[in-house]
Symmetry: C2
Subunit: 431 residues, 2 copies
């Protein structure tokens, strides 16, 4: 078998065998096969696609290129959750304590943010003292005892995916469904969970711009999960506006806590409860989705899951007092943005809001950039709301940095309409 | 402009602008753009194609990456001929003296052979003393005075093509029509000729396997030529068997001489006269193709062109005596191959014959291999001939090396049929 034969096979539209896929993934990771042959292969894959089986072989080969978390020595049902990346997405901090309350185990490894979407670990680090690097044994023990831990990626998860992604990035081969799906799944399959719920964002602030695209991606990822003997459910959620009202690191922790205390906005309540309900049904804790959903809503309403977040923060040496007092830490420089017109809000372009937050210092423009955890944006209006001219649209919490550019972006983020608009935060479910 | 934008443009099926093509060709040749981005672009070109204009821009950009021969200081009409590579193809040695006889000028730079097709320069070097490296001034003077010179490529002709071809070779992107056409034309457009006749081989021993493929390639090359302000004609010729009866370096020189002396086989007479007649018509020396063709046949029949070959060999310090006595130099070890069955010969697979000659030492398996100029193959039967069992099909002139393997290939090269077959050596003409 040679790499040229493999390229030729895909070029001619034939499926690649498991051996071929392992051959090129391993050869590339080990530096035996050069970039220029892999980039030709990636472009051939872009044009000819890959079927579900090939995508699964690719995801598994990339998973096996690095460390795979073994959770088999933790009793109970291990679940995981992944989002394709949204603006204001603090769902993990809500979903984690909820599933922990129901007795499921969430041993989550998360990344840091780059560009317009924030990273789960960055948000967590707005809490003083928090440790996001734990040894595997400490991490697992915390999950065993208290059902929940969220830490940064340790070891090397799917280095093949990392190397391939870097190559795709500079060869215009990022937007290939099978490559995107197998990239995401390679990392998720390394997480050791039995059941995985995927939150696939749709809209201008997301990677998938249309419902059709998002649905194809979701179907493929669910199929890869099944072929890899995992239970996977994908929920398509709307990114026509940021999630919730708060964007920024400390800001999002604050809103997650408020939601866990029964004071969250409807989109967060609805999406978190939907994702949790799917996990409950897949875990056979509930037979009926609607009942599981109602139970989840009740958990939020009654604040039953908050203690699990509180305990996790304490387990990881964070200052849990901050969970309830976070607004005291928000940057004291504030600017309000007022509406220049009246009308119903049709969209709040998430991409622009995310970039604005990044410019303020809440996110990273480059990998090396240092984050300010306490700058952020608080929306006062959401899609569907009616505003009069000069109504306050949002508050910017800043430290001068990037304020001018961010304000400009935010001014342009609001799109108005003259009629009422129904907001639908969940667009489809694939299982 | 970035290379990623260029890849993306082609990936989406949009034509590349002249600036984009120059940008990537120059950037790649200068080592600024890395292999892995160019290979992704090449694969995108494979799938999305390039229109005539893009192909021309590419050919011209590759031509301009190196030396371009300037023949403007040679009076008269300068012509050139190119073959896409056949087995037993000694047409240049016949055509060159013929056009010289008619007063046209042929200043030909040729390559060496690799694989199953022999190189023009290798064949020439079977003549003792021949010089195939001349200074540009000596080369041009010879053409001025005696109308004809054939030398090895000096300087750097189209280094961009060389670099791109090497990359295509290892990324399964060789068989793209626009890339093949622009590669050939980049070198031909560097040759300084006004009129170019292209001999596009079709069949199992050729790069183009079907008439349809060959026609597409020919049309594209003619179009590139026109857009680059050259007169270009392409003739599609049959490669269902080797050209003529002789394969090997000295062997092919011998057969070319015999043809120039009026004793050549019909396929060589016909193809050489056809190509020459096209050059005569394009040069306005003749108005009517059929008359030009008849005049060309007469030149061969009367041996009028032979002195031009003889003079060229002398100009280039070769032992011209050898032209008439070449069989004395053929390897003295000979083996005859007999037919194992009776029937009409349907095909003599040129690829196998070419490989057999290479194995005997007449060609190079690797760039570094040393050629034996005097081993070769003489066919005694051609397609359409009827043979009885045990009739001699061919003679192998060898030095033991590769004999066994070559014999096996040659035995399998003959395909029989039970009915007569009409041989058509010219399949189409594109102008």
């Amino acid at each position: 078998m040679t790499i040229i034969e493999i390229i030729e096979t895909k070029k001619q539209g034939q499926p690649l065998s498991e051996e071929m896929i392992q051959f090129f993934v391993n050869g590339y990771t080990q530096g035996i096969i050069p970039d220029y042959q892999i980039s030709a292969l990636l472009m051939a894959i872009y044009f000819q696609g890959m079927n579900d089986e090939e995508s699964t072989f690719l995801a598994l080969a990339m998973r096996d290129s690095g460390d795979v978390l073994d959770l088999s020595d933790i009793e109970g049902i291990k679940v995981d959750k992944h989002s394709t990346g949204g603006v204001g997405d603090k769902i993990s901090f809500i979903l984690g304590p909820m599933v922990a309350h129901f007795g499921l185990k969430l041993a989550k490894m998360s990344g840091r943010g780059l560009g317009h979407t924030g990273g789960t670990i960055d948000k967590l680090e707005s809490i003083h003292g928090i440790q996001t690097e734990l040894t595997e044994e400490v991490f697992k023990n915390q999950v065993r005892q208290h059902h929940l831990a969220i830490i940064g990626q340790s070891g090397e998860i799917a280095p093949a995916d990392k190397k391939l992604y870097a190559l795709r990035d500079v060869t215009a081969t990022v937007n290939s469904m099978p490559l995107i799906a197998s990239s995401i799944m390679s990392k998720k399959l390394a997480s050791g969970a039995d059941i995985i719920v995927l939150d696939v964002k749709v809209g201008d602030g997301a990677f998938m711009k249309t419902v059709e695209e998002a649905r194809s991606l979701a179907k493929l990822m669910v199929e890869i999960g099944k072929l890899a003997h995992k239970k996977v459910i994908a929920v398509l959620t709307n990114m026509d506006e940021p999630l919730g009202y708060f964007i920024g690191n400390a800001h999002e922790i604050h809103e997650a806590v408020q939601t866990l205390l029964g004071k969250g906005p409807e989109d967060l309540n609805h999406i978190a409860s939907t994702l949790v309900a799917h996990l409950l049904v897949q875990s056979d804790l509930y037979q009926d989705f609607d009942i599981a959903y109602d139970a989840s809503r009740l958990v939020l309403q009654k604040g039953l899951a908050f203690p699990y977040l509180n305990r996790m923060i304490e387990d990881q040496h964070g200052d849990s007092e901050m969970l309830l007092t976070m607004p005291l830490y928000f940057s004291s420089h504030q600017v309000q943005l007022k509406s220049k017109q009246s009308g119903f809000i049709d969209r709040i372009e998430a991409l622009k809001v995310g970039k604005a937050a990044m410019l303020l210092g809440a996110g990273r423009q480059t990998k090396e950039a240092i984050i300010d955890h306490y700058v952020g944006i608080e929306l006062h209006k959401k899609v569907g709301d009616y505003v009069d001219k000069d109504d306050v649209l949002l508050t910017i919490y800043h430290q001068e940095k990037g304020l001018k550019e961010a304000t400009k972006l935010l001014e342009n983020a609001f799109v108005y309409t003259d009629h009422e608009k129904e907001v639908q935060s969940i667009l489809d479910t694939i299982q």
